[in-house]
């Protein structure tokens, strides 16, 4: 009975901290056979050897495309594996994408057995996704489109001209000076800050 209920779970994640946290959570929930696989070139062979019921994979891993192949060549694994994220559960798909994880399960495995595993995976991946997002936001505080928009607004106000004209003017200057329009935009913002 014990054996029959113990799902084999393969976890493909190159973030060791996140993998350890998830593995611990899965074990605490009674899933003892969790195998972590490195994101390496012989992934298919490793999966074949483990013959998992569930595969959890970091969305950042390019090896997702390797797993996709298993469904096309069913003889490469003992049992055909199907993607869990069927469209009837859009909320879970959204949550999984936001958290940065995807799951594959053996065809025919009951959904109610897999759902808690996926929910836990999403909840363990989420803090990492949040952190990454915060870092990205900080980095792109003044990315090109934002700088251009801000500069455009400054020009519109300073010269009392409409948006298209302000943009055309910046573009004209950029072309004349052989610079990127974002560079021109940043100079406008800097100048405006100096003259404030």
């Amino acid at each position: 009975m014990e054996l029959r209920w113990d799902l084999r779970i393969a976890l493909v994640d190159k973030n060791p901290l996140r993998a350890a946290i998830l593995e611990e959570g899965l074990r605490a929930a009674g899933h003892m056979s969790v195998v972590r696989i490195d994101d390496t070139a012989d992934l298919l062979d490793r999966i074949r050897a483990i013959d998992p019921d569930v595969i959890l994979i970091d969305l950042e891993s390019p090896s997702r495309d390797v797993l996709e192949q298993m469904f096309k060549v069913s003889r490469s694994v003992a049992r055909p594996v199907a993607m869990f994220v069927d469209r009837s559960d859009a909320a879970t798909i959204d949550a999984a994408i936001d958290a940065g994880v995807s799951a594959y399960i053996v065809d025919g495995l009951r959904k109610d057995r897999v759902k808690p595993i996926l929910d836990m995976t999403i909840s363990r991946f989420n803090p990492f996704a949040k952190l990454k997002k915060e870092l990205e936001t900080a980095k792109s505080q003044l990315d090109d489109p934002k700088a251009i928009d801000r500069a455009k607004a400054l020009v519109m106000r300073a010269k009392a001209i409409p948006e298209e004209q302000a943009y055309a003017l910046m573009r004209h200057v950029a072309m004349n000076e052989n610079k990127k329009i974002a560079e021109i935009a940043r100079s406008i913002i800097t100048a405006a800050e100096l003259l404030r």
């Binding site: 390797v66 996709e68 192949q69 096309k72 994220v85 469209r87 798909i93 994408i97």
Partner: protein
């Protein structure tokens, strides 16, 4: 304020037109702001587009068709109003296999007919000696890379499913896998062939358009439903790609194109490598051609349904689906030039180096002839 659209892409040379459309403000000029989001796998691109996390995506043309037909993991009707280029793949083999092919080849090694037959002899000898089958890498089950490998193998009367192993290898792992001896060759796009050669791991066997001339590659894909309700955005974006393709084809813009690719598409790659990828001393057709023959001009972006039908025929030949006229019609409908820029010149139909000529009006005969010839 202009509208912001999220477009997913995989950092490859053939995402170039999207970078141009953004950096040269072609999209902004048409009233849409592009946010380009790099992703690491074709499966992610597919899932995020279908789930609505992307408004549009740089997508393998056959993958867009497969999703629309419901023969991939998820079923969702997609449309491609414009393509993002033609050609661009090359076959690279390990140094060991290249030496063996040189020994075995009875004629010009640049001719894929010669190499496919030489390969067949190598495969037969290995089998007789009880050695493991040769392994070739491509990028996704539904990819022209996969189909190009199959066409090459078939020309040597090899069964792609029995006589060799075909495996998906993420491009960033290709060179390493080839060097480790886990792969004997692969078919990928730029810049990965150049990288393998530069790293001394392999030899470029068939480049440019040797296997398939005018081979469809990536498209700009949308959810069909979204495209219906956002017709103006779709037209604006497809129009910006058209502007970008004319810009990229202008000889005077080559340096700017290289600079753009250096700063956007390949941030982790050295300028030396990019120079190698773009360098093409033999080219006479302008600046937008890279080492592997990637074509970015206006002739290369028309989403002609005949190209979708050619890809559909390759899917059937690969055993990924079973031919039906209804399915063929659905595949053709994924390419929706009516939603894209009006390009009056007809698009070229793909021509493989071997096998029967393809006619979009008679796929059944093409498939029968293809089967008989291999």
């Amino acid at each position: 304020m202009t509208k912001r659209l999220r477009i997913g892409y995989v950092p490859l040379t053939d995402a170039a037109l999207l970078h141009v459309a953004k950096a040269q403000h072609f999209a902004a000029a048409r009233g849409v702001e592009i946010e380009l989001v790099a992703d690491s796998s074709w499966a992610n691109i597919r899932d995020k587009l279908v789930a609505g996390h992307f408004d549009a995506a740089h997508m393998l043309a056959p993958a867009a068709i497969a999703v629309s037909l419901g023969i991939d993991q998820i079923e969702a009707p997609l449309v491609a109003p414009v393509a993002l280029g033609l050609n661009g793949n090359a076959i690279t083999v390990s140094k060991v296999l290249f030496e063996a092919l040189l020994q075995e080849a009875q004629d010009d090694i640049a001719d894929p007919r010669v190499t496919s037959k030489a390969l067949a002899r190598i495969v037969a000898r290995r089998r007789a000696a009880g050695e493991a089958p040769l392994t070739f890498g491509h990028v996704f089950p539904f990819s022209s890379h996969h189909y190009q490998l199959r066409l090459w193998l078939r020309a040597g009367h090899l069964d792609p499913d029995e006589d060799v192993r075909l495996v998906v290898v993420p491009p960033p792992f290709m060179v390493w896998t080839l060097r480790k001896g886990q792969l004997d060759g692969f078919c990928v796009g730029a810049p990965w062939n150049s990288l393998a050669v530069a790293a001394g791991a392999g030899t470029l066997l068939h480049q440019r358009t040797n296997i398939v001339r005018d081979c469809p590659e990536k498209v700009l894909a949308f959810r069909a439903e979204w495209a219906r309700s956002h017709g103006d955005d779709v037209r604006a974006l497809a129009g910006a790609v058209d502007d970008a393709s004319r810009w990229a084809a202008a000889p005077g813009n080559r340096n700017s194109l290289r600079t753009l690719l250096t700063s956007t598409a390949w941030q982790d790659m050295s300028p030396w490598t990019i120079e190698r990828v773009l360098a093409d001393p033999t080219s006479t057709s302008g600046p937008a051609v890279v080492e592997t023959g990637l074509q970015l001009d206006e002739d290369a972006i028309k989403a002609d349904p005949a190209q979708a039908l050619w890809l559909y025929a390759q899917m059937v030949a690969a055993g990924q689906t079973i031919y039906s006229p209804v399915q063929a019609e659905a595949a053709a409908a994924v390419y929706a030039p009516a939603l894209g820029p009006s390009i009056s010149r007809p698009a070229a139909t793909p021509v493989a180096f071997d096998g029967p000529a393809f006619s979009p009006n008679d796929i059944a005969s093409y498939l029968v002839a293809l089967h008989a010839s291999s």
